[in-house]
Amino acid sequence: MRSSVALWLRVAFSRAMIRVLATYGDPLWIVVNVGGPLLTSIALAFLYKFAGIPQFTGFAILGGGIAAYWGNVLWSMAAQLNWDKRSGMLYLYISSPAPLTALLVGMSLGGILGTLPSSLTVLIIGTLLFNPPFSPPTLALALIFMLTLLALYGMGIALSSLYLILGREAEEVNEALYEPVSFLSGIYFPSIGRASPLPLAIQAVASLIPLTIGMDALRRAVFFSEGVGELWPSLLTLAVMAQASIILGLKALNYVERRGRVTGDILVALR
């Protein structure tokens, strides 16, 4: 029992470490990755300014900072196991005693640390260009940020098992997922709550995505100085959702491994 916990920790740590080393060992990769969220958020900040409300440019900048993570979840988490399958890496993972769950949790931690430079770049450049009014950081903000990332990466883990089963179609689905989820979850504009322009039914659907709750709470903490006192329902919901998505993700992973050993075509690519 103790040794299996130790193994789990070792595996998670080393997977995180490798991802961080790989990211920081390739600065060009960081430059390439920051382009999308950075320029999108600048364009959208101009749109807020044009709409007559320069104070809201911060929505676009904050959105860009989180979009960097959302992209990382889709491309470096959800799609990762499928690439590992094609390269033969997944074979090595399965045929070793390393728990897949530890590998994915490690990958998430590494992804979070590895995406930090992109996210910060967007926030810093955006702030320099548009100087939106931010509230000073609070405990609530830190909590929400962490829980949002947890929920987001939990989603990545769940998607990664789904994509293993989907196979070839997975990448197209992944590609098609980025924008609609950005829209519904309100990365760049309030999609739920009083300020949302969307009908209640759509808001209800959007609220099922953890990122929606996270973005809404982040905006309220960053731009409207709300603290734990006002944000606790969001914090609670996020905590539950993060836990649910991680548990669901890990369960799906175990299912995929079991199923793969039966069918023979989920864990290894057929030539």
């Binding site: 080393s14 490798i18 045929s95």
Partner: protein, 327 residues
């Protein structure tokens, strides 16, 4: 004590369009410190057997035990004591050093840091890439990447190590080194080296015992010498003009147990390699060929190879067998 035991192992693949019997009642025992070869044409079931033994795939029926642990019921324990490498994988992290990559793989087995460091140095010196250890993976040549991959398979000091076509796509020199390593690992470190290959030369050269496999069935298991000795029939190579290339299945010639036909387009001749029921049939075969319009330019009796053993059992060579599977 046997390190690998396989009993009545069968594996069926069911896809929408077809049902493939990839392994058909396979029985094997492989000892500690043995280099064991699984030799057969593409599609014979070698990879499937290795996948079952490395716990990636479940058997449809039958039993397999690796290092004393059942591959189905004790998969976790099996995973701790095996290593695996295949020529078709492209694994490792490009922007991380070779050393870090090996460290990562050692962590999948929970190897403590000091132990991992020691093994990395040891394997690097054994495979002669110490000077490459601190370079990032993308800077390494293909040859070094292949060596790194082999080192990776041994990083956890496995009791049984599986290699699936390990020398495919390797240059002759590296392949030779790798084969020496396999023998050394078996002799010096008493590992069981389980090797799947369709390279007869490789099987003859380094395997203590070879199992010949075709369409999921083990046809024979023995030392390469004994396998060849059991073939008490003459092997003859007939050189003919190009018409020989179109004789079809040599078994249609009276007295031929099996054979292969190869066109040598450069010298505009064909080589018909046949195993005869006995010596007396040679003249008859030549006559039969000439009657079919094939000019026999010469013939030669050959020492049997493992492929001849295969041909004597199946009737056709590896190439014909693979072609017949494609339809």
């Amino acid at each position: 004590m046997a390190n690998v035991e396989v009993e009545s192992l069968t594996r069926v693949f069911e896809t929408r369009s077809r049902r493939v019997l990839a392994l058909d009642n396979v029985n094997l025992e492989v000892e500690k410190g043995e280099v064991f070869g699984l030799l057969g044409p593409n599609g014979a079931g070698k990879t499937t057997l290795i996948r079952i033994l490395t716990t990636l795939l479940l058997p449809t029926s039958g039993r397999a035990v690796v290092g004393g642990f059942d591959v189905v019921k004790e998969a976790k324990k099996v995973r701790g004591i095996i290593g695996f490498s295949s020529s078709s994988e492209r694994v490792g992290f490009d922007f991380v050093t070779a050393r870090r990559n090996l460290w990562f793989f050692s962590q999948l087995y929970g190897v403590p840091k000091s132990e991992a460091d020691r093994r990395i140095e040891e394997l690097a010196s054994l495979l002669e890439f110490q000077d490459q250890l601190d370079r990032k993976l993308y800077m390494l040549t293909t040859g070094y990447k292949q060596r790194l991959n082999l080192a990776r398979a041994l990083i956890n000091d496995p009791t049984v190590v599986f290699f699936d076509e390990p020398t495919n796509g390797m240059d002759v020199f590296s392949a030779k080194k790798v084969r020496e390593l396999f023998v050394r690992e078996a002799r010096v470190n008493s590992r069981t080296v389980f090797l799947a290959t369709h390279n007869m030369f490789e099987a003859e050269e380094i395997c203590d015992r070879v199992a010949i496999i075709d369409r999921g069935r083990i046809l024979a298991v023995d030392t390469p010498e004994n396998l060849k000795l059991t073939l008490d029939k003459p092997v003859v190579m007939l050189e003919t003009d190009v018409a020989g290339a179109s004789v079809g299945d040599p078994r249609t010639l009276d007295g031929v147990v099996g054979g292969t036909v190869k066109l040598d387009s450069e010298s505009e001749t064909a080589n018909i390699r046949v195993i005869l029921r006995d010596e007396d049939y040679l003249d008859k075969v030549v006559t039969l060929l000439e009657r079919r319009g094939v000019k026999v330019l010469g013939y030669q009796r050959l020492e049997p190879t493992l492929e001849d053993v295969f041909i004597s059992k199946v009737g056709a060579g590896f190439a014909e067998r693979e072609r017949s599977l494609e339809v």
